[in-house]
Symmetry: C2
Subunit: 414 residues, 2 copies
C-alpha cells in the first residue's frame, strides 16, 4: 500500500520571528501519526504572498496532504485566505453558514458583529467549509489532483477542534491508510543514554515494521513502540510480545504503560487504593498541585495543597516547629518531613508530600547551593525524605522536583 505523507505548514510572521511559541505543528503531526500519516517536513513561513504561493507549489510536489495553520485572523496582516484563492484561480465569497455562525458567536457573547468580523466568513468558492465552533475563523478543505490542502486558524484550541472533528475523519475517508498500533512504556528515574544501553540488544532485534522512539522529558523517558502493517490483530500481538520482552529489563523504572503523565499515574494509583493526597510545596511553588489539578476529576483523590513560601505559613498552616526552622533551616530533611506530615493532617488526606529547596538562581549558600532540594512523603506512620542535587535553572528545578516528589509517592505506595 502506498504510504500517505503530509507536510505541516505554519504561516505567520509572529511565528517566524519567534514572537509566539508554535505548539500546533507538533500536535498536528502527532495526531496524524496516530492514523498512519507520516509527516515528512514542517515549514514555517511569513505572511507574504510569494512565500505562501511558493510553499503550496513545493508542498504539493512532495506530499499528499498539506495541513496549514495561521494567517486567518481579522487583522490586515493575515492574507492566507486570499492567497490560497489566488493559487486555485478562485474568488472569495461570503459563506452563508459561516456568516450565520460568526454572527451568532458574537451575539452570544454580547459583542458587536462588525464588518471586519463578517469578512471572516468570506471563503474561496472551491473549498469545503469546516465549521469551527470554538472561534470565528472557519477551516477550509480543498481537494486538488487527488491531494488535500487544509487551512486552519492558528489558535491552538480552534486548530485542535478542527483536526479532531473535521480533518482526521475526512482524511480517513479520503485516503486508504495503513494500520498503525502504538504501545507506550513510560519510565522515570533513568537517563536516556543509560536506558538506551540497558535495552540495546532488545532494540537491535526489533523487526523492521516495529519502530522504537525515545521521548525524554525531565527525568521521564517514554519508550514508544509503533507497529505498521495491514492486520491490526497481528501487529497488536507482535508489539505485545516485544513489550513483554523489554519490561523485565527496566521494571523498577516503569510508571505507566500509556501516555500518562506521572501525575496521572499517581492519581490512578491513589484512586485504586481509595486514598487521598495533600501537597505542601515550598520550592515547587504550586506546580505539583497544578500538575495534579490539570487532570479532569482530580478532586476524587486530591484534597488540597499549601504553598508555604514564608516560614509563617510553614508554622501556622503546616505546623512546622519554630525550633526546627531555627536549628535546621527551611531547606532541611527535618523541615520537609514536618511539612509532609503537617499537610496530611491539615488536608485530612491519606498521604502528604512536600518539597523544600533552593530553586535559584539566587539564594544558595556554601553548604546549601542552588539546586539543593528536599522532598518527602508521609502516611502518618512512616515519613520518608530524599535529597536532590539539581542545577541552576529555576524552571528546570521546579519541574524536576515536582516530578521527583510524585515519583517518591508512587514508590512509597507500591
Amino acid at each position: 500500500m502506498k504510504s500517505i505523507v503530509a507536510e505541516v505548514i505554519t504561516i505567520g510572521d509572529e511565528i517566524l520571528y519567534g514572537q509566539i511559541t508554535d505548539t500546533n505543528t507538533q500536535w498536528i503531526s502527532a495526531e496524524i501519526d496516530k492514523v498512519g500519516i507520516k509527516t515528512i517536513r514542517k515549514t514555517s513561513i511569513g505572511d507574504q504572498e510569494s512565500q505562501i504561493l511558493g510553499i503550496l507549489e513545493e508542498g504539493f510536489s512532495r506530499a499528499d496532504i498539506l495541513l496549514m495553520t495561521g494567517g486567518l485572523g481579522p487583522t490586515k496582516d493575515d492574507i492566507t485566505k486570499k492567497t490560497i484563492a489566488k493559487y486555485f484561480n478562485d474568488t472569495l465569497e461570503i459563506n452563508k453558514d459561516a456568516e450565520a455562525f460568526v454572527k451568532d458567536f458574537f451575539e452570544k457573547r454580547g459583542r458587536p458583529f462588525t464588518e471586519i468580523n463578517r469578512q471572516q466568513a468570506a471563503l474561496p468558492t472551491k473549498c469545503t467549509y469546516l465549521p469551527n465552533i470554538t472561534g470565528t475563523a472557519p477551516g477550509m478543505w480543498f481537494e486538488h489532483n487527488g491531494k488535500i490542502l487544509v487551512s486552519m486558524p492558528g489558535v491552538p484550541v480552534e486548530m485542535k477542534y478542527l483536526i479532531e472533528h473535521e480533518v482526521i475523519p475526512r482524511l480517513k475517508a479520503f485516503f486508504e491508510l495503513p494500520v498503525i498500533e502504538h504501545h507506550i512504556i513510560s519510565t522515570i528515574g533513568i537517563g536516556e543514554s543509560f536506558l538506551a544501553e540497558t535495552i540495546e540488544e532488545w532494540e537491535d532485534q526489533l523487526p523492521e515494521h516495529i519502530r522504537l522512539a525515545y521521548l525524554p522529558s525531565f527525568s521521564q523517558v517514554r519508550l514508544r513502540l509503533t507497529g505498521f502493517g495491514d492486520d491490526r490483530k497481528i501487529i497488536q500481538e507482535q508489539i505485545k510480545i516485544e513489550a513483554e520482552k523489554v519490561k523485565p529489563l527496566i521494571a523498577s523504572y516503569i510508571f505507566s504503560e500509556s501516555n500518562q503523565t506521572i501525575a496521572e499515574a499517581v492519581g490512578e494509583l491513589l484512586k485504586s487504593k481509595n486514598a487521598t493526597l495533600g501537597v505542601a510545596e515550598s520550592c515547587t511553588g504550586g506546580n505539583i498541585a497544578h500538575m495534579i489539578t490539570l487532570i479532569p476529576g482530580s478532586s476524587a483523590f486530591f484534597l488540597g495543597g499549601v504553598v508555604s513560601y514564608s516560614n509563617d505559613a510553614k508554622m501556622n498552616v503546616l505546623k512546622v516547629k519554630q525550633e526546627t526552622l531555627t536549628n535546621f533551616g527551611a531547606v532541611s530533611e527535618q523541615t520537609v518531613k514536618q511539612m509532609a506530615e503537617g499537610v496530611r493532617i491539615t488536608m485530612r488526606s491519606t498521604y502528604g508530600i512536600a518539597t523544600s529547596g533552593i530553586a535559584g538562581p539566587d539564594g544558595g549558600t556554601a553548604d546549601k547551593p542552588v539546586g539543593t532540594v528536599w522532598i518527602a512523603v508521609s502516611d502518618g506512620k512512616t515519613t520518608e525524605a530524599r535529597l536532590l542535587k539539581l542545577g541552576k535553572q529555576r524552571e528546570v528545578n521546579i519541574e524536576y522536583s515536582s516530578v521527583a516528589a510524585l515519583n517518591l509517592l508512587r514508590r512509597f505506595i507500591n
Copy 2:
C-alpha cells in the same frame, strides 16, 4: 546595508512526528531578531542523511546563517554530525577539549564515562568547537563561503546556553548587523480584533521602518514596536514618539511596557508598595502560585497559597463558613470572597486573591455550567468579586482564570 537573514532548522524524527514539542525554533528566532537577524524560514526534517544534505543545500542558497538543532544525542538514530562532515568532505576526530569536558561532566556526577559518551566529543575537523557547559553534546560553528552554519544539541537548556554565550556574540562579530530597537506595550482584557480597530488609524500612520506586531496569549495582547535603521538614538526617539501616541488610546488595558508576564507586573506593583500577597485557589489549582513562584525573588512579595480543592480545606484553612458552602455552594460570590479574606489572614498578607469555579470538562450544572468561575480580591477592608463565563476546555479555563485574578488585583491596587 545588506540585511542578514537566517534559517532555523530542526533535525529529528521525534520533532517531525510530533513526539516532543519544539520550543527551540521560536526561541532562537526571537533571540536573533533582537540583534537584527531576520528568520526567513523554519524547517523541521527527519534523521535521514538525504534530508539533512538537502536542507543544507537549500538553506545555504537562501540564507546567510543556518542555525541547526538536534541529532547530536548519544543514541544511534542521531546522525547530524557525520552528515555535516560528509557535506563538507570532512571527517570526525575526537576533540581533546570536548573530550576532557565530557569526561569531567560524568565524573562530577558520579556517572560512568562510557565509549558512547566519549564519541560525543568526536567533531568534524573543520568546525570551531563551541563549549557547552550545560550538557554532553558540544556545539559546532562552520564558516562556508562567507556564510555560517551552527549545529547545536536539541535540549532547550543546552541550545539556549550556546545561543546566548557563543552564537550571538560570534554572529555580531562576523556580520555587520543593523540597529534594531524594540518597545513592548502589554495589554490585558481587550481582544485582538477590538484592539486592532481601536488603534487602526495610528497603525496606518506608522513609518515604514517601524513595524507593529500583535502577540496575543489568553486575555493578553502584547504590542511590539520594532524600529530598524543605522542610528540607535534616532530610532529610540521615533519609537518613543509612536508609543506615546498610542498609549492614551488603550491606557486602562496596559499592564506593562516591557515583556513582563502579568504575574511579573503584579509582583513589581506589590514590591513598589511594600505589599504582600496570599492566594487561595480552587479551580486554578495552584497555577496562580506557580505563575508567581516562577519569578526569581518572588518570596519578597509572595507569602503563600492554599489550594482548597475540598470543602474541608476551604473551611479549615481558609475559614469559609459551613453555611456559606451549604447555602450558596463552593462556586459562588460569597464563597470566593471568604476565600480571599481567609487566605489573607492565614498568610498574614496585605492582599488576598481567590478563585472558585468549574474548570470542566465535567461538573457543570444548569445554573452553573462548565466555565463558570468566580474570582475575588481583598485587602481586609474591601473585598471585590467578579464572575467569568468561560468555555469548556479545562486547561484554557485554568490559565484564563489565573490571569484574570492577577489582573483583578492589579486594578484593585491601582
